[in-house]
C-alpha cells in the first residue's frame, strides 16, 4: 500500500519532466506523435544565437548576485546566530523569501523608475541579491544549529583572537552551509523570471534565459524548448547534487 502510494506520487512528480525529456528527442517536434528518435532539436538549439546571449546574461546575473548575496547572507546569519538578534531583524531577513515575486518586481520597478536608474543586468543583479541574501542566510543558519557554539568560546579561551577564530574555527564549520546557500542562490537566480523581467528594462540586450523561455512558451512554442528544458533540468539537478554533497559530506578543511 505505502509503496504503491509513494510510486503514484513520484509518477506525478516525474512524468511531466520525463515527458519533456522524451519529446526533446522526438523527430517530429510535435507533442502528439512520435516521429522517431532524433537529436536534431539539439542542433537547432546550438545554432540559436539568442539562447547563447540569454544564457550568458543569466550566468552573469546568477554569478554576481550569488557572490554578493553569499557574502551578505553569511554575515547576516553570523550576526543573527552569534550576536543578539531580535524580531525586527528576523522579519527583515524573512520577508524577501515570502513576498510574492510580482509584488517585489513591481515595487523594484517603481523604485528604479522613481530614481531614474538605468535598467539593465546590474538592476537585475541588485534585485536578485535581495531574495538571495535571505535564502543564503537561512541555509547558513541551519548550519549553525548543527554545531556547538561553545567551540567559538573554546577557541577564544585557547588564545584565538576574533579574526583567527573566524578563519580557523567558524568559517570552516559553516563553509558547507555557505556553499549550499550559494548554490541555492545561483539556482534561484538562474531560474528567476518575473523580477528579472520587470527590472531588465526595455530592449533585448539584457534578456535572461527564463525571459526567453517565457516568450518561447507564451508566444509560439518551438520544439527547441524541449531540448533547452532538458538541459536546464539536468543542470539544476547537478547543482542540487553538488550542494547536497557539500552539506552532508565531510567538511572541506
Amino acid at each position: 500500500m505505502k509503496k504503491i502510494y509513494l510510486c503514484i506520487v513520484f509518477c506525478f512528480l516525474y512524468i511531466p519532466i520525463l515527458t519533456l525529456i522524451t519529446l526533446s528527442f522526438n523527430k517530429s517536434g510535435l507533442p502528439t506523435s512520435w516521429g522517431g528518435f532524433s537529436i536534431n532539436w539539439y542542433y537547432e538549439l546550438f545554432e540559436n544565437q539568442k539562447i547563447f546571449k540569454a544564457l550568458f546574461n543569466t550566468i552573469i546575473v546568477a554569478f554576481f548576485s550569488t557572490i554578493i548575496a553569499g557574502l551578505l547572507g553569511t554575515l547576516l546569519a553570523m550576526g543573527m546566530e552569534l550576536r543578539k538578534s531580535n524580531k525586527y531583524i528576523e522579519a527583515t531577513a524573512f520577508i524577501p523569501m515570502i513576498i510574492p515575486d510580482i509584488v517585489m518586481a513591481i515595487s523594484l520597478l517603481s523604485f528604479f523608475t522613481l530614481l531614474q536608474f538605468t535598467l539593465g543586468l546590474h538592476s537585475i543583479i541588485i534585485s536578485h541579491v535581495v531574495f538571495n541574501t535571505a535564502f543564503v542566510c537561512a541555509v547558513v543558519r541551519t548550519r549553525f544549529k548543527y554545531f556547538d557554539h561553545n567551540v567559538i568560546e573554546a577557541s577564544y579561551d585557547l588564545g584565538g583572537k576574533h579574526i583567527i577564530t573566524f578563519i580557523k574555527i567558524t568559517l570552516p564549520i559553516i563553509l558547507p552551509g555557505v556553499i549550499a546557500g550559494s548554490l541555492l542562490s545561483f539556482t534561484l537566480s538562474f531560474d528567476e523570471f518575473i523580477i528579472a523581467f520587470f527590472t531588465s528594462g526595455a530592449g533585448s540586450s539584457s534578456t535572461t534565459l527564463p525571459m526567453l523561455i517565457y516568450s518561447m512558451i507564451r508566444f509560439g512554442v518551438t520544439p527547441e524548448i524541449n531540448a533547452l528544458s532538458t538541459f536546464i533540468i539536468l543542470f539544476s539537478f547537478t547543482i542540487v547534487f553538488i550542494s547536497q554533497r557539500a552539506v552532508k559530506g565531510k567538511l572541506l578543511i
Binding site: V151, A154, Y156, D157, L158, G159, G160, I164, K168, I173
Partner: protein, 343 residues
C-alpha cells in the same frame, strides 16, 4: 593563588552572582557546588573572562585579571559539552592552543605528544571528534587545556555527560592528573558526590551567594544551615514542636538534651542516617522504637525506612548487608546526642 573579591554579575535586574568572595590556593582542587541556576556557571564564566563582572575584582597571583580578554587570560576552561573543534582531529585540537602562542612546530609536536601520552590518548591522534567515545572526548578536552599549562583550569560540569561507571573512572583520573600537573582546578558541579569525592575544598552556592566553604568533611559533618544540610547527603529532619532550654521534644514527648544550641530560632533538628544505630554503644544515649516499612537494596550498604512515633515523617537509616532485618518487624534504634544538630 586566585582571589575572587566581591564579584557581582547581573542579568537584567537579576543577580546571577552577588558579592561573591573566595580565595583559592595554588595547586588546590576546588569545587563550586550548588543547585542548577545558583550562579556557579556564571561565576566560572566570569573567572574565565566570558562574562564581564558588574562589580568586584579577580586577582591571579596578585595580578588583576578582571578585565582581561579570554584569549590572554592564563586560565583555561573545559566546557561541559567539551566544545571540541569538529573539523580538527585529536592532534590538531590539542595543538590549537599552542599554535596560537606561535610556538615552534617541533615544540608543539613534542608537547602535544607528551600530553597525549599522559591522558591515555595514544593511537587516537588522527581521529575526529565524532569518532570518539564520551570518555575519549573528555580526555581530549582536558588535554587541550592542560597542554597550555594554565595557572588555573576551570571545569564546567566535567562528569555530567558520562555514564555511571565511566564517571567513577574519570573521577580518579581527574584527581591523578591534577596532582601530576599541580595546576589549580576549579570544578563546577551540581553533584554533591562529585564535589565531595574530588575536591580539597568545596564552596556551596545558593542564589548567587556563597553559603559555606570548607573541606568535604567539614561541609558534610557540620552543615552551616538547613540549605546545606538538605543539599549535601541525606538527613532526617524532625520539626520543632517544643524546645525548653536545651531540651528538644519529639512528637511522642520524648526529648533529647542537645549539646549545642547553635541557632537563634531553630526550625528543626537533623541527624544523618548513618548516625542512627541498630546497637547501643558507649556514646549512644537516646533510644527510640520503630517499625521497618521498607528496605532499599544498594548492595554493600542498604537503606531502611522506619516508621516511628517520634516523627510523622518516615525515618531513613543505613545498615550493612550482613545485618539481617525483616520487613514489618519492630526494632530499637540508638543515637548519640552529639550527632543531632539544630537548624
Amino acid at each position: 593563588m586566585i582571589e575572587v573579591k566581591s564579584i557581582t554579575k547581573k542579568f537584567g535586574n537579576l543577580f546571577a552572582v552577588k558579592d561573591f568572595s573566595i580565595g583559592i590556593n595554588h595547586g588546590e582542587f576546588f569545587a563550586l557546588l550548588g543547585p542548577s541556576g545558583c550562579g556557579k556557571t556564571t561565576l566560572l564564566r566570569v573567572i574565565s573572562g566570558f562574562e564581564l563582572a558588574d562589580g568586584g575584582n579577580i586577582f591571579l597571583d596578585k595580578e588583576n585579571i578582571t578585565n582581561l580578554k579570554p584569549f590572554v587570560r592564563p586560565t583555561n576552561l573545559m566546557f561541559q559539552s567539551y566544545a571540541l573543534f569538529p573539523h580538527y582531529n585529536v592532534f590538531k585540537n590539542i595543538a590549537y592552543g599552542l599554535e596560537r602562542e606561535k610556538l615552534e612546530k617541533q615544540e608543539i609536536s613534542i608537547r602535544v605528544n607528551e600530553i597525549i601520552c599522559k591522558t591515555n590518548l595514544t593511537g587516537l591522534e588522527e581521529r575526529y571528534p565524532d569518532q570518539l567515545s564520551g570518555g575519549q572526548k573528555q580526555r581530549v578536552a582536558l588535554a587541550r587545556c592542560l597542554v597550555k599549562k594554565p595557572k588555573v583550569l576551570l571545569l564546567d560540569e566535567p562528569l555530567t555527560a558520562l555514564d555511571k561507571n565511566l564517571k567513577e573512572k574519570m573521577k580518579i583520573e581527574l584527581k591523578n592528573l591534577q596532582k601530576q600537573f599541580g595546576i589549580t582546578f576549579i570544578i563546577v558541579t551540581h553533584d554533591q558526590d562529585e564535589a565531595l569525592a574530588l575536591a580539597d575544598r568545596v564552596a556551596v552556592m545558593n542564589e548567587g551567594q556563597l553559603v559555606q566553604v570548607g573541606t568535604p568533611k567539614e561541609i558534610y559533618s557540620k552543615p552551616k544551615n538547613l540549605f546545606v544540610a538538605e543539599f549535601i547527603g541525606k538527613m532526617n529532619f524532625f520539626q520543632k514542636l517544643k524546645i525548653e532550654g536545651n531540651n528538644f521534644y519529639f512528637q511522642d514527648n520524648s526529648f533529647i538534651t542537645l549539646l549545642e544550641n547553635n541557632f537563634e530560632n531553630p526550625q528543626c533538628v537533623g541527624i544523618r542516617p548513618e548516625d542512627i544505630l541498630l546497637k547501643a554503644n558507649g556514646n549512644t544515649n537516646y533510644k527510640f522504637e520503630g517499625k521497618i516499612i521498607d528496605i532499599i537494596y544498594h548492595g554493600q550498604e542498604n537503606e531502611v525506612i522506619i516508621n516511628s512515633k517520634i516523627s510523622e515523617e518516615p525515618i531513613l537509616i543505613k545498615c550493612h548487608k550482613n545485618q539481617e532485618l525483616i520487613l514489618n518487624t519492630n526494632i530499637s534504634l540508638y543515637c548519640a546526642l552529639s550527632s543531632f544538630r539544630l537548624y
